[in-house]
């Protein structure tokens, strides 16, 4: 396992460098884009704060004065980078709370949701993908393709609402929305998970088909291993490789889906917050959120890398 440890460290290092790059890029890009947005930031922030009943020009001017929005942009960027260097994400322009605290609470919820989604997608996609991979072109295979296409063509919110109707309103199995208990996690996870599974079950299926048609698989059989043993000891492991890598790509898609699902299920997550922050021109919040999301993505990708190395010993034995 020593070789594995070395490999792991190497990966860790490269990912670490990447993390720094990401941090800088994300920070600057998001800042630049926020600056590029049309409309008067002071007005947007005031709107975000006071709501349409209380927001007016006066409040906007007050905000402008309070936040020093009339400073040159570079000064503002520099200020942000300075605070960041002290591991401080600044305070939310809209809510006046510490961005770090906001994210701390919301990120947890979002990660929980994302994890739930991945689990749900695997619970659905693995059996489906493997089964259709074992009989390519079979009934199950073509059906799962059709269903996948269908699910992928339904927007997440519609899917979510249908699930709520079936499982919460009709079957009364789970709560509709909120986040009191674990049961609250099920439907949102399922909504996202179905979206993911729609694609990943095809990826799994293809991987299994590849593995099943490989020479080594036939040899494993002819040397006397039962079909089941061949599947569990050889096919699945080989098929797992592309699948795990694909999860890496999905992570990005997750962050998209999270936004929708969070607002459908009133889930206090980070995606929801990001949207509000963008509309409210809450620059510190946007940068902070984008930064954290970026780093989270890098971290999760690291796990994916390590998982791949774990599965695939090639290149380890040097």
């Amino acid at each position: 396992m020593n070789a594995f440890a070395r490999m792991a460290l190497a990966t860790l290092a490269t990912r670490g460098v990447q993390a720094i790059i990401v941090a800088v890029i994300v920070g600057i890009v998001s800042f630049a884009m926020m600056q590029a947005l049309p409309g008067d930031a002071a007005y947007r922030i005031a709107a975000g704060r006071y709501g349409y009943d209380m927001m007016d020009a006066a409040s906007a001017d007050a905000v402008r004065a309070e936040l020093g929005l009339d400073q040159p942009t570079l000064v503002q960027l520099w200020a942000w980078l300075k605070t960041l260097a002290q591991f401080d994400l600044g305070t939310s322009a809209v809510y006046g709370t510490s961005v770090a605290d906001e994210i701390a609470s919301q990120l947890g919820y979002s990660l929980l949701l994302a994890a739930g989604a991945v689990v749900a997608s695997l619970l659905i996609a693995l059996p489906l993908g493997i089964a259709s991979g074992l009989r390519p072109g079979g009934l199950l295979d073509s059906m799962s393709l059709a269903v996948s296409i269908f699910v992928r063509s339904i927007p997440a919110f519609a899917l979510g609402i249908v699930l709520v109707l079936v499982f919460a309103v009709q079957l009364k199995l789970f709560p509709v929305a909120g986040f009191q208990g674990f049961s609250n996690l099920v439907l949102p996870s399922l909504t996202l998970g179905l979206g993911l599974a729609a694609v990943s079950n095809r990826v799994i299926r293809d991987a299994v088909v590849d593995a099943m048609s490989a020479d080594w698989r036939l040899f494993a059989r002819t040397k006397g291993l039962s079909a089941r043993l061949t599947l569990t000891r050889h096919v699945l492991r080989n098929a797992a490789l592309p699948v795990v890598t694909y999860i890496g790509v999905q992570l990005a898609y997750l962050i998209e889906g999270v936004v929708i699902v969070e607002s459908v299920f009133a889930w206090p997550g980070i995606g929801h917050a990001l949207v509000h922050a963008i509309f409210g021109r809450d620059i510190a919040m946007v940068q902070g959120t984008a930064l954290v999301l970026g780093l989270t993505y890098v971290a999760l990708n690291l796990c994916v890398d390590l998982a791949c190395r774990g599965i695939d010993p090639r290149g380890r034995t040097a």
């Binding site: 490989a214 080594w216 040899f219 291993l225 043993l229 080989n238």
Partner: protein, 464 residues
């Protein structure tokens, strides 16, 4: 008397067309059956039919009896139950037959564990012994990718025979092995009948047949041409094709007439080469003259292929240099590959590939067609894709493709090691012929010293 394998009027069909057969033969315990014939004569189909691993599109007819019980009527599941316990198989391509992600040791252990049904600890001990016995010590923790062909073949052997199946079916077990390893594997097979087992070997190498002995079946175009005890078949073949097959054995080739060499066109001065940081060859010198035929031999893994790449300018030498004669075009050095299908774009009809080259080098298409005709390739084949023509034909087409460039040097990397003796001989003869006509220098990498002796003007032996 009981036969461990008894085949009666076996034929294999693809739809309505008969691909192979009918053949009938039988082997008794302690006996050996060798199936000979040209590549693509359907030898493998027999093995697959006996095993029950024929691809879905194919269908077998006739009786197959194994250890007294008829199997061809059994459902797949029950036939699969015999694998490893009554029938063991040696794969054609040991590399591709081993799980790329599992270390050699475990791939054997799992046979002892799950096929022989030994408890884990004992399974590991047995594996260790097997590795000892097969001289695989040190390879335990290697992945198939890191095994040499011979090692992979022996690992596969260990994995296949762990179940102590009395019958071993070996399909082209010596494909692409160098002389030394070649012998090792054949010895391994020879042991099987010696220990009371039954061996069914498929090969196109006369040498292998000679060494294994036993009962010989000769196939051609799926037809049984002759069978009998090895001694009689090999010494006094009744059928002309068998004779041709025996004559085609490099041992029996006449010495090809030496060619008057012209001026030097390619020189290598104390060349040192390395691949992936691994140091392979150094102090290699060569001055190649127009039209001469050089054979390059040496144990596998020493870096013959890498050396060719260096000569072809595909790989920068670690030190020393390769210099081409003045006025030699950039594409004057061409390569022929060991595995012809791998040398062509997979999904493109052959004609397209050839026309591309012809167009690029402003070669008249007529010339290409003439060359093909010259090499005895039916033009109709050109409409097919590489995987749709036989290895012999494809190798000839790849020669034609190389000639389209009007090269001065051909670097041939075991171009015939996967072909049966007749095709091999014909292909090399053609190569010799065109080389002479076009005054092309050929460097032939081979591990068959007879070929080297008989075919080349001079031999370069690479040694550690």
């Amino acid at each position: 008397m009981t036969h461990s394998i008894e085949v009666d009027m076996l034929s294999v069909f693809a739809g309505p067309t008969r691909l192979m057969g009918p053949v009938s033969f039988s082997v008794a315990p302690g006996g050996t059956l060798v199936i000979m014939g040209e590549t693509g004569a359907g030898k493998s189909l027999i093995a697959q039919a006996i095993l029950g691993t024929l691809p879905g599109a194919l269908r077998a007819e006739g009786h197959i009896t194994i250890n007294g019980s008829r199997v061809d009527t059994l459902p797949v599941a029950e036939r699969a139950a015999m694998w490893g316990h009554e029938l063991a198989t040696l794969p054609q391509e040991p590399w591709r037959a081993l799980d790329p992600l599992m270390r050699a040791f475990r791939q054997v252990t799992e046979s002892y564990r799950f096929v022989a049904g030994h408890p884990p600890v004992q399974a590991r001990e047995d594996t260790a012994e097997a590795f000892q016995a097969l001289g695989l010590s040190g390879a335990e923790d290697r992945l198939p990718g890191a095994l040499s062909g011979g090692m992979a073949q022996r690992v596969a052997f260990a994995a296949a025979t762990a179940g102590k199946a009395p019958i071993l079916i070996a399909d082209e077990p010596t494909k692409g092995l160098d002389a030394a390893r070649h012998a090792k594997v054949v010895d391994l097979l020879a042991k099987v009948p010696a220990t009371g087992g039954t061996l069914l070997a498929i090969t196109h190498e006369v040498a292998v047949t000679r060494r294994l002995g036993g009962h010989v079946v000769v196939l051609r175009d799926g037809q049984l041409v002759e069978q009998g005890p090895a001694k009689t078949v090999l010494s006094a073949p009744a059928d002309s094709y068998t004779r041709a097959l025996l004559d085609a054995d490099p041992q029996c080739w006449p010495h090809s007439n030496p060619h008057s060499a012209g001026d030097v066109i390619l020189t290598a001065q104390d060349l040192a080469i390395a691949r992936d940081g691994k140091h392979l060859i150094d102090g290699f010198n060569l001055s190649l003259k127009q039209g001469e035929r050089v054979a390059l031999t040496g144990p596998s893994g020493i870096g013959k292929t890498t050396l060719l790449d260096a000569l072809a300018g595909l790989l920068p030498p670690a030190s020393g240099h390769v210099t081409r004669a003045q006025g030699l075009s950039r594409h004057a050095v061409q390569k022929l590959y060991q595995d012809p299908p791998a040398a062509f774009p997979t999904r493109i009809p052959l004609e397209k590939s050839l026309r591309d080259v012809a167009r690029l080098h402003k070669t008249d298409w007529g010339f290409v067609l003439r060359t093909l005709e010259h090499l005895g390739v039916r033009p109709s084949l050109l409409s097919r894709r590489p995987d749709e023509v036989s290895g012999g034909e494809l190798q000839r087409i790849s020669i034609a493709r190389a000639l389209t460039v009007r090269p001065s040097v051909l670097l041939a990397d075991e171009p015939t090691s996967r072909l049966d003796p007749i095709t091999q001989r014909d292909t090399l003869r053609l190569l010799e012929k065109v080389a002479a006509e076009e005054n092309i220098a050929v460097v032939l990498v081979t591990h068959d010293r007879h070929i080297a002796d008989k075919w080349a003007d001079r031999i370069l032996k690479l040694a550690k």
